[in-house]
């Protein structure tokens, strides 16, 4: 056995999980798919005295489909998106992403909520949900609140989650049917976390673009000026300059090599969206 000993509680409901986590005496953590937390326990990197297992809370696996948006329960595994077992309003982007995180044997267990709550800067869902203008619903001792995914992530492995607060669902607005997406991930090995990752969305009818770069030492960066340039029909040269400038103006202090990597990922995502 590799982890240090800890206590275990199998939560029966969201309220039960919150009550168990709301404890100043012990370091308690929720457990979802365990695909990040259990490796950390095995390596003794995460101090945990009590695990609160969310796995049996069926309401966290619910999908709520409405005219303008789809809400995905936090416990839905990556494989459910990959296999198209949940409805899609993203023109296939979420299904594509679900299919390229890690490996099949990890995707069957790892969850969208766990990935967002961990907020690894290089996590695929983080960049994706922000690109899609998603929201997260959090529930805790003081009730429910809804936040833009972009505001939920506050830094590398840092989120707006308060003590005993759970990520309950991820809400994705239905994207325009005419919107195209492009994705590019730089990684040394298939299934590994990204060295850089970019998603570009472009709706030619509305001439509206959105471009997000991830794996950037913190929350993914939304390139708003570049998106405007895309809308105005800028050529690749201008876009390259715009991306470089916008990234350099961010507070992340990229090395020249990293900057080049992120500019390249962003440009390739834009190309894949069929923009240049």
């Amino acid at each position: 056995m590799k982890p240090a000993p800890f206590a275990y509680h199998r939560a029966t409901s969201i309220e039960d999980a919150i009550a168990q986590l709301n404890d100043d005496e012990t370091i308690a953590r929720p457990l979802a798919g365990g695909q990040s937390l259990v490796p950390m326990l095995n390596l003794r990197l995460a101090p945990v005295q009590k695990l609160v297992d969310l796995g049996r809370i069926e309401t966290l696996r619910r999908v709520d489909e409405q005219a303008g948006r789809i809400a995905y329960g936090a416990l839905l595994p990556h494989a459910a998106f990959e296999d198209g077992r949940v409805p899609d309003g993203s023109n296939g982007l979420m299904s594509f992403i679900g299919g390229q995180i890690a490996y099949r044997a990890v995707r069957t267990r790892g969850t969208i909520g766990g990935a967002l709550a961990l907020a690894d800067p290089a996590a695929d869902w983080l960049t994706t949900v922000i690109a899609l203008d998603g929201q997260v619903v959090l529930v805790g001792p003081r009730g429910r609140r809804s936040l833009a995914a972009a505001d939920f992530v506050t830094g590398p492995y840092m989120t707006a989650l308060d003590q005993a607060e759970l990520l309950e669902s991820v809400v994705i607005p239905r994207r325009a049917k005419t919107e195209r997406w492009g994705h590019y991930k730089v990684t040394r090995k298939t299934g590994e976390y990204a060295d850089s990752m970019a998603i570009a969305l472009f709706d030619p009818d509305a001439r509206k673009a959105r471009i997000v770069v991830g794996a950037v030492n913190g929350a993914p960066i939304v390139l708003t000026k570049t998106a405007l340039e895309i809308g105005e029909g800028a050529n690749e040269e201008r876009l390259q300059a715009a991306i470089g400038q916008e990234l350099a103006e961010s507070d992340r202090a990229f090395s020249p090599a990293k900057l080049k990597l992120h500019v390249t990922a962003a440009l390739r995502a834009i190309r894949k969206a069929g923009l240049s």
Binding site: M1, P5, Y8, Q35, D53, G55, A105
Partner: protein, 166 residues
């Protein structure tokens, strides 16, 4: 403190007393003496411990046994009579898909799942799908060749049995 859980392992109901920190892999290997499930990295990367959990592939090294109460687990030992597994083993034998055999149970479980889910795979697709299983001695040429050969043989078998049925 230990807790009693019940699992269906390779078709048989088994009870076990587990500590919260005990992985499914340790339970299988140490308590159940099912040692086909190998342990390499113990953090989800190498794939040696891949088993079927409720019919889907999963890493036994990062699944806590206590969380799985009531689940169905299948290891390589429990796939001995499985026809597709038979074809895969024969192909690994013929196409030099293994040397020391350490990674092989994980390779077999992952490729078994792959061939059940996907048809008509080319070599590139097999490589991508099998990227979560590391081998430190055979090299991947033989492994990919084995899986491709098994896929072709299996497709032939399936068409033959469909023809018989119709």
């Amino acid at each position: 403190m230990k807790t009693e859980i019940t699992l269906t392992i390779n078709g048989k109901q088994r009870k076990a007393l587990v500590e919260p920190r005990q992985s499914l892999a340790d339970l299988l290997r140490e308590d159940m003496r099912l040692t086909a499930t190998h342990l390499g990295c113990e953090h989800g990367v190498c794939g040696a411990c891949t088993i079927l959990l409720n019919g889907e592939p999963a890493r036994a090294c990062i699944a806590l046994a206590i969380t799985l109460d009531g689940s169905e687990v299948r290891t390589l030992e429990g796939l001995q009579d499985d026809p597709l597994m038979g074809v895969l083993k024969q192909s690994f034998h013929e196409e030099h898909g293994l040397q020391c055999g350490f990674c092989t149970p994980g390779m077999l479980i992952s490729s078994h799942d792959l061939l059940q889910r996907k048809k008509g795979l080319d070599e590139e697709q097999i490589r991508v799908a099998m990227s979560g299983n590391l081998c430190r001695c055979t090299g991947y040429q033989g492994i990919v060749r084995s899986i491709k050969a098994a896929a072709d043989k299996w497709a032939e078998k399936m068409t033959a049995s469909e023809e018989v049925a119709s």
